[in-house]
Amino acid sequence: MTNSWTDIKNTDLVVVMGGNAAEAHPCGFKWVTEAKANRGAKLIVVDPRFTRTASVADYYAPIRQGTDIAFLLGVINHCIRNDKIQWAYTKAFTNAAYVVKEGFGWQDGLFTGYDEEKRDYNRSTWDYEIGPDGYAVVDETLQHPRCVWNLLKQHVAIYTPEMVERICGTPKDKFLKVAEMISECSSPTKTMTSMYALGWTQHSKGSQNIRAMAMLQLILGNIGVRGGGMNALRGHSNIQGLTDIGLMSNLIPGYLTIPTEREPTFDVYMSTRGFKPLRPDQMSYWQNYRKFFVSFLKSMWGDAATPENAFAYDWLPKLDVPAYDVLRAFELMHQGKMNGYFCQGFNPLLSFPNRKKITAALSKLKFLVVMDPLQTETARFWENHGANNDVNPASIQTEVIELPTTCFAEDEGSLVNSGRWLQWHWAGGTPPGEAKHDAWIMAQIHLRLKELYRKEGGPVPEPIVNLDWRYADPNEPTPEELAKELNGSAVVDITDPNDPTKVVVAKGKQLVSFAALRDDGKTACGCWIYSGCFTEAGNQMARRDNSDPDDTGAFGKWSWSWPVNRRILYNRASADVSGKPWDPSRKLLEWDGTKWTGYDVPDIAPNAKPDVVMPFIMNPEGVSRLFTRAMMRDGPFPSHYEPFESPVANVVAPKVRGNPVARVFRNDFEQFGDAKEFPYAATSYRLTEHFHFWTKHAHANAVLQPEFFVEISEELAKEKGIKKGGMVRVWSKRGSVTAKAVVTKRIKPLICDGKTVHIVGIPLHWGFIGEAKKGFGPNSLTPYVGDANIETPEYKAFLVDIEPIAGPVA
């Protein structure tokens, strides 16, 4: 989230699209209710199903899953044509005026530079024209035909209300009503918030779904303001934290990146990370990358990371592919190229697409280690459970080691919520049986591995034997010790550059913030964006002062939020170019003539002049991007692509199947179905009574929603002779499941380009372990393809067929 849950009360319009907060995030959704009750805010829901969020909406519009970009570009087109733009914001704070290189274009659904063989683009034209002064060329009059604004105008022109209806199945009048309500938020004194979740991410163009809304929010002037923002609701309790700390193939904590093998040395690695400003006087804060990176290396390898060995740069693994994401990992496993795998609190047998392939892949491993508080299906993938897990244990040679871990109630530490608040919690119960903390387990694995390398030697033992592990009890680092490392400390006495006799931070002391980080090895810091969370003043994440001066919703003394306790990102954009708040009744920051003051920690240097330094300080432009240059693989603007399995052809680009640069492994291509064989558009979702595959272990939740079902419209039920509560078989090209049918008015057929499209809803909470009845999940059916930029699997849009089968009728 750019903002926070409690800030939603400040909004005028809530758009829930790609999410279902009332059911999936009920206690956060109360802030929507607050805004409606106290401010007269309106709620719009755009969703294939009439969800419980829709049931309390002021306006609901249906949409076919996988067509959000067409809808959102349609809204942008509507705003442009009707002059509903927050012009002062758009001109000053976005790259609308930047001139793009000659040669860039879009035709037949493809941007310039497409290579069909490689399924990739040459992105060299997707950039700004650079002037003789070394800065990007801008045309503040917006007259230049190749300025971003004119390219955008041209790009979205095809998404007329009629086109939106053809693609999305949203009736024109409903689309127009939504577009009009949204366009009113172009007023500087009206804000809109976007609340989205996996309904946008789990598509082969998920990143671009979100970009499309971000662009809309920018031209309406809704980023950086109270009640505005791009608010990812997020799933698990610490998915934000795990991502911040970079537990991904290609990440280093704080969104730094793991080197590739084309960057064999520290200097080569740094050579592309200079982040020189693209306009005069801009902060381009990533210019401090070297400080963050060196401090990270010091936190990994301590005294063994020296200037002489380039801070142990060699010990970081170097990538040969963009990333070993989970789809690639299981593809390699399936090919027999992986031997070992660890699952720490994760259940891929039910979470990853094409379950048949997942089972086959796990069966080829030599060993699988599962660390979990609960017995998972993955740990028992080899166990026969009849139709629910039809395997032969004798034929599976994988050694499986299951380790019991503590659960949240028995562990201490911090979790990051959707609004970037790091909240500390304490252990309240004794672990059951022999369950152990994950940190203890990881320590045991490390210490044993280190001992084996000391005793036996082996290839490149240095990164293991030199890992900084100076904890009071090496067998179990404490949460406080680890949190302090994330915050960072001085490795030696740090002196004032102007007065070397004056010690600014003494050796061993905690740093106040990342502003104190050094690129010479004098500071260590595990995760620069967390610097400030645990200082000499104590554990800031444990703060519990819930005061909120002037009821802004900031709660600045409750816990601690990254970065530097800032509650709303880009908050300098809440004021105009002269530093006055766009909306005085919703003041966040204000320029007092010499510095920024207000309710939040300024997202800019405190004395940065408002008409000189622009608000988007992480970008070398200083402004936000409507045109993303070459930073995304599938285009500098979003473009409508159908899901890989779609009931209709792509109206704007009939020859393009799916996202043209999404990675598809060869055998998976053969497993895509088409609409002739599989006529119905399926989607997956959660229920308010369940959380993924955990709550089927909880008695109360198993009672509330005991059994797997699929949800279909009355029209489809009639067409197929399916009775309410009757059993059905649902199958895709990759698998088949049986379920009870819930026949509902919440799903209605849509008309897309003249064709009736029926939708099949498949909730995801059942497996073969726990208190609920045994059942299946959507991953038995879903295709093995991910988003082109970050490989999130396409769970939200795929094709199935359905038929009634014999069985009990409720």
């Binding site: 309790s237 093998e261 010990w315 990538l319 070993y324 609190g345 949240f408 699997p793």
Partner: protein, 199 residues
């Protein structure tokens, strides 16, 4: 160091004291105080209270764990009740159908209690000691790393990667666990490393 404002002290500070709080911000200071006083006798007595965060979604509702026995005093603590934390700015004491049933997941019959091993081709798990399980894991890792570690690529560049074993991290563990995990996994040279963010 404890920055906690106790809930009792917080609720006891009626009237003027409450006016500056979130509850007071509703404009119902006196009503809230009276309500708090009225329900106080029905609260659990003789239990230890621990502040925690709901383990499910990222709304991250504040919760209070009630236990028989106090972990902080070194006692064995059995959690007997979980409820929403009224001090918490986001949930203000409310919980959803998942959070309201948290006790059932803490005490689920299907919690894993002991290290177990399933041997190749076997149809059952067998209980083992922690030492046996951990020694075995370290052995399997070392053997695979020794055999498949790539120190240099074909161009002679130092790459120091190990990609025949992978690690899938959690999504509900703490930042501190995440950091310990990061250090151990990366120092071994692993690149097949991911978390639940994608799914």
């Amino acid at each position: 160091m404890n920055m906690e404002i106790s809930r009792r002290g917080f609720l006891a500070g009626a009237g003027a004291g409450l006016a500056g709080t979130t509850l007071g911000a509703f404009g119902f200071g006196d009503v809230e105080a009276a309500h708090a006083a009225a329900i106080r006798p029905f609260k659990l007595a003789n239990t230890a209270e621990t502040r925690n965060t709901c383990t499910y979604c990222s709304v991250a509702c504040g919760i209070i764990l009630y236990s028989k026995g106090d972990l902080k005093k070194g006692e064995k603590a059995e959690i007997i009740h979980v409820e929403g934390d009224t001090d918490h700015p986001t949930n203000r004491g409310t919980l959803c159908p998942k959070g309201a049933a948290l006790l059932d997941i803490v005490r689920a019959k299907t919690r894993t209690l002991y290290p177990q091993v399933r041997k190749p081709g076997s149809d059952k798990f067998e209980r083992v000691s922690w030492d046996a399980a951990l020694d075995r894991i370290a052995r399997l890792m070392k053997d695979d790393r020794d055999k498949n570690f790539i120190a240099k690529n074909n161009d002679g560049a130092t790459v120091n990667r190990w990609v025949s074993t992978g690690f899938l991290a959690a999504s509900a563990t703490t930042n501190e666990t995440a950091w310990a995990t990061y250090k151990v996994v990366r120092s071994a040279g692993m690149l097949v490393f991911d978390n639940q963010a994608r799914v």
